[in-house]
């Protein structure tokens, strides 16, 4: 507390000169009962960078991640000083599974963001936006909510559509979803990043309005737990 208030009155140049690389461990747990996460991107960056901002239109790079799980464009757009750590789970992170504890050297960066697509959803993702990395040694737990990128209509039709702009859900990795749905909706009223309202789903595996199973592909927030150990 004292250090913080001291820093805030220091000239900016002096404060940035005091920034030093930190060694942190990051472990992410999928808290859900039936939702998979695509490869997870952990990004260490400065206090002005955002992979996403609630209430703002998603970038094309975020859209690619949220609609298809592709973190490549987000990483390609990162500034040189950013430390991106991708694919912590070496593929999908299954429901209730945890990533290996992953060591990250933060370099000059002070803040952490985390994103990964939630499957099966149209453009749902787990999100941490610019969390300030504590400077005190210790273990910190952060809970993540499920966001909607606001870029794709949540029709809940599983058709392999993972390319940005292509309507539909890429896949249900649990192989427990249906086919032949007519679609839940064809319009959205909020085109900005917002808290996901959840899947609607139905219990008809060969038709109905949704290919998503309403009993299985549900979640309540938070959807992920992040344990950060500052060493």
């Amino acid at each position: 507390m004292k250090t913080k208030s001291l820093l805030s009155i220091l000239p900016l140049s002096l404060a940035s000169a005091m920034a030093f690389s930190q060694s942190i461990d990051v472990e992410i747990t999928n808290l859900t009962h039936g939702i998979h996460f695509t490869p997870i991107l952990v990004s260490a960056h400065d206090d002005t960078t955002h992979l996403f901002s609630a209430g703002m239109t998603a970038s094309d790079e975020l859209k690619a991640m949220a609609e298809g799980g592709d973190t490549g464009p987000l990483m390609a757009a990162s500034a040189e000083s950013v430390v991106d750590t991708d694919n912590l789970a070496s593929g999908l992170l299954a429901p209730s599974a945890s990533t290996p504890v992953t060591a990250i050297e933060t370099g000059v960066n002070t803040h952490l963001s985390i994103v990964a697509m939630m499957l099966p959803t149209n453009d749902g993702f787990i999100g941490l936006d610019g969390w300030e990395i504590p400077t005190d040694v210790g273990t910190y737990t952060v809970y993540l909510n499920g966001y909607d990128a606001g870029t794709e209509v949540n029709d809940e039709i599983i058709n392999g559509g993972g390319t940005p702009g292509v309507l539909g859900i890429p896949a249900a990795p649990g192989m427990d979803a249906g086919t032949g749905a007519t679609g839940v909706t064809d319009m959205e009223s909020n085109a900005t990043v917002h808290i996901h309202r959840g899947n609607t789903g139905d219990t008809n595996l060969t038709g109905g309005i949704s290919d998503v199973d309403s009993r299985i592909h549900r979640w309540l927030n938070p959807v992920a737990k992040v344990v950060v150990t500052v060493k």
Binding site: T32, S96, S98, K225
Partner: protein, 244 residues
């Protein structure tokens, strides 16, 4: 007059404080001076545990409370539920869990009766003083297949006499019974043909956060649950106060 009355109040408070202090003083003297290395069997800690059911229409099964060392954990996200947890989560019966035979569990207490929505209940749990003092508290949402709300491994060791700690309870899914919501699978009043514990495991077989229920009002016509049985996290709020 005013002065006098205010003075007498001060006096009363001073006397009370003095008597409290001397009561505390003598017991801590026992700890510090008389018994140094030998554990004092009479040194106890007690906690009042107050829970309020925050759900709309999910009665909570009798509370299960345990004080324990840090190596005990009643459940873990991603791990298979113990049978005693399954029994509690599917049928609201806490007896097996509270009877768990573990050197790490200091004491176990059950609440009295179910806790209805909006109702607050307090129970007291005590144990011999120990360096590690953690609380596990859990309860079933009885109008579900296998949902429970709770905390395990809540560290109370830093809680001083008279201090309180407030916690909101998330909802977990034991993963031992599919969330079918069908008649004959749910022990609570929503299901007249209700069933509690069934040893068959027909779900994912790991503990996770609960996904919530669907209900007949949201298009799942076979469900015995309606919109009133919906819930979100947290399902309850817990206050732990150290009283001894």
């Amino acid at each position: 007059m005013k002065y006098l009355s205010s003075k007498s109040t001060t006096l009363a408070v001073t006397i009370l404080a003095a008597s409290l202090l001397s009561a505390c003083g003598s017991s801590s003297d026992d700890d510090d001076v008389v018994v140094v290395d030998v554990p004092d069997e009479t040194a106890m800690v007690s906690y009042d545990i107050t829970l309020t059911n925050l759900t709309a229409n999910q009665p909570l099964s009798p509370l299960a409370a345990q004080l324990h060392a840090s190596d005990y954990q009643a459940w873990k996200v991603g791990s298979v539920a113990s049978e005693s947890l399954e029994i509690l989560a599917e049928g609201g019966d806490n007896a097996a869990l509270l009877a768990v035979d573990s050197a790490s569990v200091y004491s176990a207490v059950s609440g009295t009766g179910a806790v209805a929505p909006g109702v607050t209940q307090t129970l007291t749990i005590s144990a011999e003083e120990a360096g590690e003092m953690e609380l596990t508290l859990l309860t079933m949402l009885v109008n579900t297949n296998d949902a429970f709300a709770g905390k395990t491994g809540l560290d109370l060791s830093a809680l001083a006499m008279g201090e309180s700690m407030k916690q909101f309870l998330p909802v977990y899914d034991a993963g031992t019974e599919g969330n079918s919501e069908l008649a004959g699978t749910i022990p609570g009043p929503a299901d007249e043909a209700g069933e509690g514990f069934n040893m068959a495991r027909d779900d994912v077989d790991f503990v996770a956060r609960h996904p919530g229920v669907v209900g007949m009002d949201h298009g799942y016509s076979e469900s015995v649950l309606n919109s009133t049985h919906g819930f979100d996290s947290p399902a309850a709020v817990l206050t732990v106060t150290r009283t001894q």
